[in-house]
Assembly symmetry: D3
Homo-oligomer: 238 residues x 6
């Protein structure tokens, strides 16, 4: 029995509120249950030094948690003067995931930065960030297309992510915080709408797992991502 | 004529959404027009080293802007590894303002931290932060009173803040970004509900000003804060 | 009764020793009683990136306290690896104050940095810094004029600053440390020699204050700045 | 055809030189072909604050690359003043992997730190680090057992890691640098000697992959880790 | 011929102004010609962690240059967020030099920090710092003796330092900036009043040197330190 | 009697293993007894900003100790976020020493960085670093000569360094850790193969010393460096 009473393959209520803020070229407030992440996409007409003059673009991400997005207050990373290893690991994952669906030649020499800021945390903040970031990116790129700055759409797929884990011996989908902190294994999958895998990360916390366990988690992730893909399309009116 | 078409003594629409997030002891999303700040109040049963064993509490504040809360993206302070002078100046002001209405003896040896994070910026983020922080603090302290952890209310006044400035020769209330960036003088007043002043800061940007100018700005601030005090009370159901 | 025995509107002995060091284009040791600040003005023939190619100059300031300028030793900011919020707040104020009297077009594409280093602290270090910085700036600009690098004087006014406060119920001028640490309200005014106000900052420490209080403090500040303006002129031989 | 001429399921020559340095409680120089990592295990009779008084131990890891371990010199992280996101991600992975085979109650209130320093890099530094760290940990714990400080062996399994990837359409084992930089997918598996999985991370670089691809990579990893487990045992004389 | 016209074994005019500031337990403004260093000695009734409970004291030093103490402005170390290698090297040297004449048992569990801040630089700032630090330390310790906090004098010798160098083929004493920047070899000697050497550092800049050169520099240093020892005694009235 | 049983003028066994790693243009593992330092020389076809366009090259050094190169584990400087004063002092010394034997005009506009990483420490890490750095530099420059990128050899001398000290009243050569931590005086000499001195640093630790002591230490250093020069030549096959 899951603490939330959900079925093992049941996602939390999924909410996607596009255009949550007004300055960013793309923005969205995404909710996986009580986990709420604000994602903005910012377009800049320049690329990092290693790409200058190559005719290619770049998509990158930054991630942060508001100090009291969590059950007890965490210190503000800006005040501590550095980002934690966890923060850096997550923002690297978000960036890779979005780059996996972007054609950098088609994007041209510009950079899109996805800022993922956790307003409220209840497990799954990195997967909500990736799933929301795709919507923010889509909105921002649609503006470039509408303005004629791009003629070919550089976004070649949808991408979404969800966590799964083995909780009290049962593989379950979309872990919330009570499950996350007690799970034996904890996995994050980043999937594309054509069924292929962009990233799989599965970590044994208490007990280790085997092939069969890995495949069962992946199967749950497919169920979750199918639901997220639909919600993404609905959010942008397609 | 103000860019927004407002009368000189007219505030922007004021919105206060209490309990915006669920983990913090107090939280609020406050809007001064398009300026939106999320404020959370976190109670910790400990005080900074300089107060230990003195039987007094402490109220402090931290402030941050999400990277794309602004018209163009700013670098994330956590990634830069330090908070700007502006950030530190603002969080010091917020902390002082809230301490001005708190009886530290009555609060007892605990600390309340007010995290003010700007979701969207359109001028007046520090004054919105202070005005919202009072509501978050009030909610958090009400919990302590309800739980019997406090028997005497340590909050002795309401506090609110608003900006004023001289825009194209006319003193105006509650500057938005277009006014703020073009004003000749820019002032922030922190007022108490008994009419007294907790803090006045008035800076000449283009042209300097005189006593009469200072007093006219202060008079506008009183008009604005009266409106904010009412909205604060309404938000907490009093 | 003030701890020093001064009358409420009496400044501490004011000393201005121009050309205190030899390398800087302008330098001064200014004393407000036991508060001693060394200010140097350094001219560089370049401007910050945001001004390049605009034909305008820039005036900026940095502030520091020697570790044992204070009653008990403070940690060295260079050793701690960062400047405190207070330091940054003060250096921003000094910079704004001097820019308020400088015509940046007339200065041309060069930057003048005012380094204010507190040798000994007894209250009022920021106001002594501003008042001394004007003298150092004046000396440095006079060199540019003498060398023919400037033909039009970019300094359009004198600027000076002084602190005032409400000490045991009485408004007093130019607070020393014992008054500063016990004052109910603490204000700093930056005034121009034409009577206008460049900056007013008034903070309630123990008790809040009202319009009348604010105006009485401002009137004291006018008395103090008149004396400082005369001392500034005398120091540069005018 | 692999650049090195190896068969798809062929590891590079594996070398493990135990007791490479003399001060550490355990040390090893491990080589996966031209990748050489020095790992030391340091025992300290204290635990991090979050574990104090709980009767449990801790195993953690740090990772670094010598500036010229790579083809072109990288900046020294100590000189830059911070560890990169990649470094932090890797050292977190190493720590988790070793904790997966350690019984913290049996270890008692002491901490073992595994320092993994890359002397020469040619792909697979993190997997060589994990595989070598187990040997260093084993040697250090054997000393604790020999000295009678421990009576129950806290190491409950062997752990090893290896990278796999899809290179020019073919799944291959133990990528060297030329393969790593050109692979379509890149995976790292951390396996236990009982066949279970401690960690799986698979990232699509150029092309994404599917279940079948993931399983083929995992099968290769099992081949590689079997070889590493044997080499580990041989290195410690078992 | 020296740029200053001095004889090879001639020091610059030596000035020592004791009690230059009022808060520190000991303070001095020392001048070696145009090099001016303010040194303060601060007594704290605590020792660094590695000495706690051992019944011994500690003497340490910090060093800094005001940004415009030099011919062209240097960046402020507090603003850069770190002390340069040169700064750290110098403050370590100052600390060692003063510890060489202090009996830590006799000092008891307290720390004396010598802050050496360069007001104006013209070569020889580290040697002026050491020579001045002894006076500041002496004054501070005399207070401890006068107050009865110490009964045995922990200062067992005088210590002084001076630079020497080979300038255009000639060994010269007490290099000023023009000599320092053009010297073939540059040495700093820290000597005790009993003739023994606490520290010798000699660096070839342009040309290397031999034993004879080293000894000639040391002989010059003895001449200089004899003069400094006399000035130190005179400054403290002995 | 020395703890190691060596004669006062006896070096520890000296080992130089050239080409220890493969990516660097020059590399060497040097051993002074149990002190082992890996030195790599990296050539970059660019110079620091202050040398651009001057037709001159630059030689610089960085130094680090692996966390467990020492008897007890030291914190990793990359994790602490800064290099210690000791580290900076040592890397400055290494750089100066190598520059003393390099003709920067002959080197041309390129930089050679010598990374000295201590694998195992037993006293004398800085002198081993210098002595090994010369070999790494020699190998790297020989490549430039062989490739025809240089036609004139920019290395004009051999340079080597060794520590000496006064241990229990006796001057001894090449201190190991037990001697180093108990010595009354501790000196490092950097000598050239033509007999001249590049750098002499002698510090009194417990007792001070005199001219005669200094000269006796220098004479020991000559004996040690003669041995090192021979080993350097043998290592590069000359």
């Amino acid at each position: 029995m899951r603490p939330s009473g959900r079925a093992p393959d049941q996602m939390r209520p999924l909410t996607i509120e596009p255009n949550f803020t007004r300055h960013a070229e793309g923005s969205v407030l995404i909710g996986f249950g009580d986990t709420k992440v604000l994602v903005t996409a910012s377009i800049e007409e320049r690329v990092p030094p290693f790409l200058r003059g190559k005719g290619e673009g770049w998509v990158t991400a930054e991630y942060g948690m508001l100090p009291r997005s969590t059950h007890t207050r965490s210190n503000r990373e800006a005040a501590k003067g550095k980002q934690s290893g966890r923060t850096q690991e997550i923002q690297r994952l978000i960036g890779r995931s979005l780059r996996a669906v972007t054609d950098m030649k088609a994007l041209g020499e510009r950079q899109i930065t996805l800022d993922c800021d956790v307003i409220q945390a209840d497990g799954g903040t990195r997967t909500a960030s990736i799933s929301g970031a795709w919507v923010a990116l889509r909105i921002a790129v649609d503006k470039l297309l509408a303005e004629g700055k791009l003629t070919v759409d550089p976004i070649v797929h949808q991408v979404a992510a969800v966590s799964c884990g083995i909780y009290q011996g049962t593989p379950v989908l979309d872990l919330d915080y009570p499950e996350d902190s007690g799970a034996d294994a904890d996995a994050n999958f980043v999937l594309l709408d054509n069924g292929s895998i962009a990233e799989a990360q599965a970590t044994a916390e208490g007990a280790t797992y085997d092939e069969e366990g890995l495949l069962r988690l992946l199967r749950l992730a497919r169920i979750g991502c199918t639901e997220i893909f639909a919600a993404q399309r609905k959010a942008i009116g397609r």
